[in-house]
Symmetry: C2
Subunit: 295 residues, 2 copies
């Protein structure tokens, strides 16, 4: 497997799935669909749907049942970005080189578009689960997403992140932010994919460990790239963490130690996923990619 | 049945249920729980949980299985109020006589608290449904809520409402707003309650008709009260629709015609619910109450 071209292929597959589930732009409320689809179509790595689909595939041999979940999870990720970019939060004008949602549609519509995407994600997961065999698996899968996205997951992480601006925080608190703001949704989407695939309790535990570790490593690498990254490759301004006096892995532990921790998390993640299946080529490749990525 | 004291009793029951499901205020992310609970505790008629529980009871004889849904639906209602009150939307400082969420916790936290309540509602419904008999019913019930809350329901109505400020709109569009902003969630919560209660297709249709009609009547009465209501009883400023040049039932059709339409909707709603059960005392009383309420 040439990992990079495989990843590209899977991102294209994920794009197709997301497109298929995007709401039609019609009716009196047409503008909200336009606002949702504007942000849904603005690219990104599509890492979360890829993880959802792969978690299902490694336990079940195919990923068909996870398809609506892949679309839904990207909608939840997109809602979180729209709300994060709002003037009251990060106040960002640009996201992936395009104007942010509120810059195009106004603040009121951006707030509602975020709300709409979060809710639409559940609408899709639930609607597509009705009438399937093993309904219990789908209830569990949707719950995994809800848990990952909520106050004991992503929103919890966002809150503490917002409150920690311009303050030096201890490593435990930084870990809480990283583990919840980023890793919790990766855990949620892999557990959801594995759940619809019918994973055993043991498989679920190892998949969870893999997701947690690549999620935390992903965020540590993000912190590192904000110092040593190439603005052109990243498509965003670097150095903002230092400018904003933000506590990060490198600011608390130094660059070298941060790299070591990320590397060790990736090695452990690979070991965990090897306990689920021998068919680990893609997920090992993905773990290595997260460590070595330059954007 | 003395309807008013029965309604009061049921509102107290609903309060207890909501309280039971409120998140504990603890952890690094404690502030978000405080913000959620602040708005969840600010009173209100608790009409939606009451409807959820009653829809289950009339088809199943008890409402136990609908309890988590009753709590969840009030969380969704509360999230919609928090976001509606934001400066970018209605910019309200007061809600039910208390400072609005963003006035107390700031805009960033109010946005996140709304997001958190919407997501937490799903977390509760899904978590509490796992392991129950008839999981399919719970999937359907949760889907009903999602549909009622989303772009083909409440959010759709909010969007068109926001876009229709200061413009004269035709009655069809006003009906779209009323039916979606308000009635869709009443339909969603009654369908959810009926679904966990195991309603037949026919029962579901009549319950839907009842909910749609009392929902629309509720909103028409709201329009009327904004003209003839007593500020002290309503706990809010009256006349804002005229000040904001808002199209309403009375502005389009006059007060008398609006009252007639509301009355006829209520009569039809009562007929529909009588086709589901003979045990209609509460829901007939509620329909009459919606018509005659002065707050």
């Amino acid at each position: 497997m040439d990992f990079k071209s495989e990843l590209k292929k899977r991102a294209i597959d994920a794009e197709e799935i997301i497109k298929k589930y995007m709401p039609k732009e019609e009716g009196y409320q047409k503008t909200i669909m336009e606002a949702m689809n504007y942000s849904l179509s603005s690219g990104g790595k599509r890492l979360r749907p890829i993880l959802t689909l792969e978690a299902c595939r490694i336990v079940q041999g195919c990923n068909n049942n996870a398809i609506p979940f892949a679309a839904a999870i990207e909608m939840i990720h997109t809602y979180s970005l729209i709300h994060d970019d709002l003037p009251a939060l990060d106040n960002d004008d640009l996201r992936r080189g395009r104007a942010t949602n509120h810059k195009v549609f106004g603040e009121a519509m951006a707030i509602l578009a975020g709300d709409a995407l979060l809710n639409f994600a559940y609408e899709i997961m639930l609607k597509e689960s009705i009438g399937k065999e093993n309904p219990e698996r789908y209830l569990k899968a949707t719950y995994e997403i809800a848990r990952g996205a909520g106050i004991y997951g992503m929103v919890g992480g966002q809150v503490v992140d917002v409150q920690s601006e311009n303050t030096k925080i201890p490593k435990e608190k930084l870990d809480y932010i990283h583990e919840n703001k980023t890793a919790a949704m990766m855990v949620g989407c892999m557990r959801a994919g594995a759940s619809v695939g019918g994973a055993t309790k043991e498989q679920m535990d190892y998949i969870t460990d893999y997701a947690q570790k690549i999620g935390l490593a992903f965020q540590i690498v993000d912190d590192i790239l904000d110092i040593v990254g190439d603005e052109a490759k990243l498509g965003k301004h670097v150095g903002s963490d230092i400018e904003n006096n933000k506590s990060t892995y490198p600011s608390l532990l130094g660059l070298e130690k941060s790299r070591e921790i990320a590397k060790s998390l990736i090695e452990d993640a690979k070991k965990s996923i090897s306990k689920v299946t021998d068919d680990t080529e893609f997920l090992h490749g993905l773990a290595d990619y997260i460590l070595s990525r330059d954007h």
